[in-house]
Symmetry: C2
Subunit: 790 residues, 2 copies
């Protein structure tokens, strides 16, 4: 089925691009990317270079080259390969291609492209390339080219490492050194400007004369000449040439391997890269591919959601889950999950609140070890958060709005430029958007609830909770005449309204975080009193602090729900702002590129929202709201929301599902899961690349289905479902891991609407499953059946 003019879905596991559109060059470079959480390689073509936004972004390579933006490096491209046949370049951009196809098989993260051209000697030559970022060997990117021709054709391949990369903010790599490391094995090393890292890329061809099969011939069998690679004068690039002939019915196959290491990975990244490529050359593509697939099979076994009856939803869902997965540094507990993953340098490859609230929940219920890793990362970055708090005059841990490797704030104070005046805008993401800290505390508590991982609490979680609480205690104000605590000068998730007071979302999260700190002290006191004493003593968290957590949580002002309507004001005075709609504001723009928010954007003095904080609150604290309140707030805020954030549609989808607005829920689900695929926004604005994968929306896809359509929540030791899926869906099945029990959930949407929850054998403990009024207990090996009717 067609997704867009040039995008098709043919199964639930891939997307296909039928013809090339230059205007989608950037967005589809992101959509079709491959990656493995260590690196991300854009879905570009072997012959492309910087102007086509080729890129291989490597985690843990932060550098600041322009005094403002600290971001990840774009590594020299070790998968450069330009083919020509009979002197005719096999390239897509020159407009002579007769056939074209690009696809991403996201089941295994395999990107491929084929192109057919007619050579001057009238041969029809087809080049097919495919590559993947290996999950079995994360520094490695194997690629394979296959060339077919209906007449004998002379093929030339210029291959090597292209070090002329593009950077968003400043040039990060310098002091390049390009080397020939042996036959068909080359390397480029470079140093980052301020962080002084060494980045090493190796590239190698695999050209064996031995291997032949019936239908294809390895290039070696027809090899005519392979010239030694030559480095460019500036040492950024090194290219070799390979010439051979392709005969009809005997496709030629060439393999190329790229490996990347940085000095943050190990002491000698160059040696490691060379070794990785050598090994790959030895093992060959097929073996690497098998090893890689094994990892992906295990991943999907843990988290895949099967939807029967809706191919589009199935494909969109998995596409988004795929991008959430490849953005996640699952292999380590010291790296952030970037807001654009590893698809580009935008958003600095850094963690925002998105990490905990959007990306992590899927892992929490499917691969809890990864959720744990991400939270341990937050624990490792506590010192950065403490430093930020201290600098701003607070105590405890004020987490970075934009958190790189160390947790220090890398969000510049001047994030945007005013397109009308050319002046920089002082955005207050880094100092006023305080909800990041309680958001992390929220997730720590949820993590423990779902996993019961006491060791995590002892080693990491409790410390986060206490330090966040201390920050919040130093941030609140007490209003003596009202005998209540307030939160002043905030920026909520709705970033169009800066400098507001008592933002409902921030207050609710703050209250929960303060309660959670006190809860953690109680928990430790009961289960590990020695550790509790040690921790509170080390942190200087006194009994008085504990009491203040309770007191402030009890007296913190939360905007009340109107007793008649159930409506909740997003912040003090919101209802007094001009009540208008996003489309009206659009007409007020003097320049389409204007920022709508602070300090003087078109939305600031109006009720128009970037995203709806009250709805976001409902999604995170469903228990705290009545159905009436959910309906009232959805009804009020929905038409006033501009969805200027990619985080917004998923929240609407979930709340819409909960209040039974099926159509809206499905529309918002589609919108949330198509943000990148159907991206009609500009990918470059004012000369700045703003493309890349909206990772948070990808993470939210799982949540819309499981939390939203299935109504799943795990609360008070009960796993509850309240299914309201689209009416045409036939079956949904997915695994969950809760409290160490591995469950297979299946909802049959026939007349019986049977919900079964089967626990795999081998776990321990038991779990109560609820659906409506019914409750069942599941134990390892047992199955609970419930009716989801009514």
């Amino acid at each position: 089925m067609k997704l867009a003019e040039n995008l098709r879905i043919i199964d639930g596991w891939s997307i296909q691009e039928d013809h090339f559109r230059e205007e989608h060059l950037i967005t589809n470079g992101s959509n079709f990317m491959t990656g493995n959480g260590y690196l991300g390689y854009r879905g570009t073509f072997a012959e492309w270079r910087a102007p086509q936004y080729t890129g291989c972004f490597v985690s843990d390579t932060y550098d600041k080259a322009d005094d403002t933006w600290e971001e990840l490096c774009n590594a020299p491209n070790g998968l450069y390969g330009a083919f020509s046949a009979d002197g005719q370049p096999l390239a897509v951009l020159n407009g002579t291609a007769m056939g074209y196809h690009r696809s991403l098989w996201y089941r295994y993260g395999l990107q491929s492209r084929s192109i057919t051209l007619r050579t001057p000697s009238k041969a029809h030559v087809t080049l097919t390339e495919e590559r993947f970022a290996s999950y079995a060997s994360q520094h490695l990117l194997p690629a394979r080219y296959r060339i077919e021709s209906d007449r004998p054709a002379g093929v030339e391949l210029t291959w090597g490492i292209d070090g002329e990369v593009w950077d968003l903010n400043g040039t990060h790599l310098g002091r390049h050194k390009a080397r020939s490391e042996g036959e068909n094995l080359i390397s480029v090393t470079a140093r980052t400007v301020t962080s002084k890292l060494t980045l090493a890329v190796a590239s190698g061809l695999r050209v064996t004369s031995a291997e032949t099969r019936a239908e294809t011939a390895r290039v070696g069998s027809r090899l005519r000449r392979s010239r030694a690679a030559v480095a460019s004068a500036d040492n950024k690039c090194i290219f070799g040439k390979l010439k051979f002939t392709v005969e009809p019915e005997r496709p030629a196959v060439v393999e190329q391997y790229m490996a990347v290491y940085s000095s943050n990975d190990l002491h000698d990244p160059r040696a490691a890269a060379i070794s990785a490529v050598s090994t790959a050359q030895e093992h060959g593509y097929d073996r690497l591919w098998r090893e890689h697939r094994r990892v992906w099979d295990a991943v999907w076994q843990d988290c895949d959601i099967e939807i029967e009856g809706d191919l589009k939803a199935q494909a969109l869902l998995r596409f988004n889950m795929y991008h959430n997965i490849i953005a996640t540094p699952a292999h380590t507990d010291h790296l952030p999950l970037g807001a654009r993953g590893l698809s580009c340098q935008a958003y600095q490859g850094a963690a925002f609140w998105d990490q905990e609230i959007y990306n992590l929940p899927m892992y929490l219920y499917t691969r809890p070890q990864i959720a744990r890793n991400l939270l341990v990362y937050r624990h490792r970055t506590l010192d950065g958060a403490r430093e930020k708090a201290r600098k701003l005059g607070y105590e405890g841990a004020f987490y970075a709005w934009v958190s790189g490797r160390t947790g220090e704030e890398i969000c510049p104070s001047y994030f945007f430029t005013d397109v009308l005046t050319g002046r920089r805008i002082r955005n207050h993401f880094n100092d006023w958007q305080i909800h990041i800290s309680p958001d992390i505390a929220y997730t720590v508590r949820r993590y423990f609830e779902v996993t019961g991982d006491l060791e995590f609490m002892l080693d990491h979680g409790a410390e986060i909770l206490l330090e966040v609480a201390r920050f919040l205690l130093s941030r609140v104000c007490y209003k003596p005449r009202k005998d209540r605590y307030e939160l002043i000068r905030l920026l909520g998730p709705d970033e169009y309204h800066e400098n507001v007071d008592n933002n409902f979302f921030t207050a609710l999260q703050t209250q929960f975080a303060l309660q959670s700190a006190a809860w953690a002290v109680d928990l430790l006191a009961e289960l590990a009193p020695e550790r509790q004493r040690e921790l509170t003593e080390r942190l200087g968290f006194s009994t008085e602090d504990y009491k203040q957590c309770r007191e402030v949580a009890a007296k913190l002002f939360l905007q009340p729900a109107d007793s008649d309507t159930g409506l909740i004001e997003q912040f003090d005075g919101y209802f007094e702002l001009e009540d208008t709609r996003p489309r009206v504001l659009k007409e007020r723009l003097l320049d389409p590129g204007e920022y709508w928010g602070w300090p003087n954007g078109v939305a600031v003095e109006t009720q128009v929202l970037k995203q709806a904080d009250v709805l976001q609150s409902i999604v995170l604290h469903r228990r705290c709201f009545t159905g009436k309140q959910m309906r009232a707030n959805y009804q009020y805020y929905e038409p006033r929301t501009q969805h200027g954030s990619s985080l917004s549609p998923s929240v609407h989808a979930t709340v819409a599902a909960w209040i039974g607005r099926h159509e809206a829920a499905y529309d918002y689900f589609t919108r949330a899961t198509s943000i990148d695929l159907l991206n009609i926004n500009k990918a470059v604005s004012g000369g700045t690349f703003i493309g890349g994968i909206h990772t948070a929306a990808c993470g939210a896809a799982w949540q819309i289905v499981v939390h939203g359509f299935l109504g799943m929540q795990f609360c008070d030791d009960v796993l509850e479902f309240c299914p309201r899926p689209p009416t045409w869906w036939k079956r949904i099945a997915f695994p969950l891991t809760v409290r160490g029990l591995r469950l297979q959930v299946r909802l049959e949407l026939d007349e019986l609407r049977r919900l079964t929850v089967r626990a795999d054998p081998g776990g321990v403990g038991e779990l109560t499953v609820r659906c409506g009024e019914q409750e069942r207990t599941v134990r390892p090996g047992s199955t609970a059946e419930l009716s989801a009717r009514g």
Copy 2:
């Protein structure tokens, strides 16, 4: 002596303009104005009309015609009079004048102009006009014209009421009715748009045939024809004509009277205006002039400062005092003193904090009844202040930033327009500039200290103090982790830095206001316990409130003076802002008309100030600061201050005098007192009139001399002097009224530097006078002599 290219001083009581400059049309229309606190009449010429910014602004005539700006009305001009001789207009704007002179004799508020032209028949004709706003009869403006010629000349006068006035924001007058009310007596009445007031103007000529003197002839003696006045079609204007001949050596004299009343003055303003003009016609100009001068003589007797040895300083000082006086509605206790007085509609004819801090102190020490009137006005407007507090979620009295008749906030939320985008700017004068309330409290307390007026405290002052305190208690925040109260989100007098915390000036004033409320409760409890009970009960001001005043005042955070340097930070984080200078910022402007402040002006993120709040604090609370602190803060803030406010130079002059920087003090004195006279700022910006008299600077002139150069302060019942006048001054002499004693202060600046303080007979009580280490007691009729050396 020359003050400017076309301005001269010939004595200490007047300014002279030698030739007409069209570019000074607006500013000198203000500088040469006459007025009497009820109305202000711009220093324009009889034949001028709206394009020349003629204007008669009438107090207590608020109207809002454009939905935004509530302002005073410009009355129809009842002193319109256009002369021609032999068909040649006697006018200044046509460029044919041979002689020209304009002067203001500010001793009596007499504006005059003379012009000489050569007629087609070669006669040299001189027209001299003079007028004054009567202080004896405040609705009345008498004018007199004198025409001389060296040959017989036929003169024609078109006189009457010109109702085609200009308005700043919307057209305020409608439903005009022009009437002929008798021989040489006409009227125009009109209604205001939203306030529905009736405004009536009458105008009359005095043309008597009886009066003749040797050297002049009343017009009547040569009267040829006086035509009945004819109203214009739209009823806005009504003009009559008068023709006569002037003979050599026999100047002709015509008198014209204008009277204005509004229905806020009395029931039938038209009848009153007609009656006033009739009476004036009967009494004649000379008698009216005598009666008027008597009032002025009394005024100057109470407040004049004689400076010997510096004609310029003398003239500038009195010029400013004059403008402070005519801006003051001394006749009543229900009207505000406008920030531009009655010189135009700019600043809405309304009171700002300027009234208490800049205009009032001169009265407090010279004509305390007027200071009392202004404070009673604040008491009368308490309900407006209460309503403002309530609307913004506070208790007590939050005084209007821009206070008209009722005390409701008439400061629009959108004060400025961004010249770069054309978008309106949300200025937070009305909601964040809270120091207005403690500023009023400060002045109430100072008023009582200087006057000992217990009755005022019982009837007015205490209520203001308690209500202001209650507002402040509801405004402060308690920070539990720091155990202190803070003031968050402020706009201090330095309006370039909005949204700041713990602005030093605001905090110091707040602390003083809270202390003063508790002090007032104690005072009343001691001196009038019955009234104290009645008041606190009526206001619901509890013992708990009293305790909170003490507690918050004790724990309110004040930026500390650096123990090494004595420097005080203006607000949290000020020292971390970019440290640059005003001239640097000027270069950053994209448009010279840009507002430098909030939200994104060039000064916002820098240390450049509009005015220096710490220096302002020193001026108001001299006792709280050491000499070292004064020096350190002057030295730091002075080069960073742009003086974007007319309030700024006087503060610098005073502090500079106190720390012995004589030259700087004199320079700032000259600057403060020349703001209007040497005004080189634009008087019209973006088509909007922003001219007018900077009344606060006028009020401050007295303070610079008495508080600054003389170092006078009245504290703890001691009248202290610490004289540091300019070295070339020979003598300063002025009256003061303190605690009911009327004092004549005289400082001889010879070698002995004798300071004498003589108390007039007739007062009661005694006073300690201090100068350096010496103390003397003065009693009614006695004189204290002190040495001001060293």
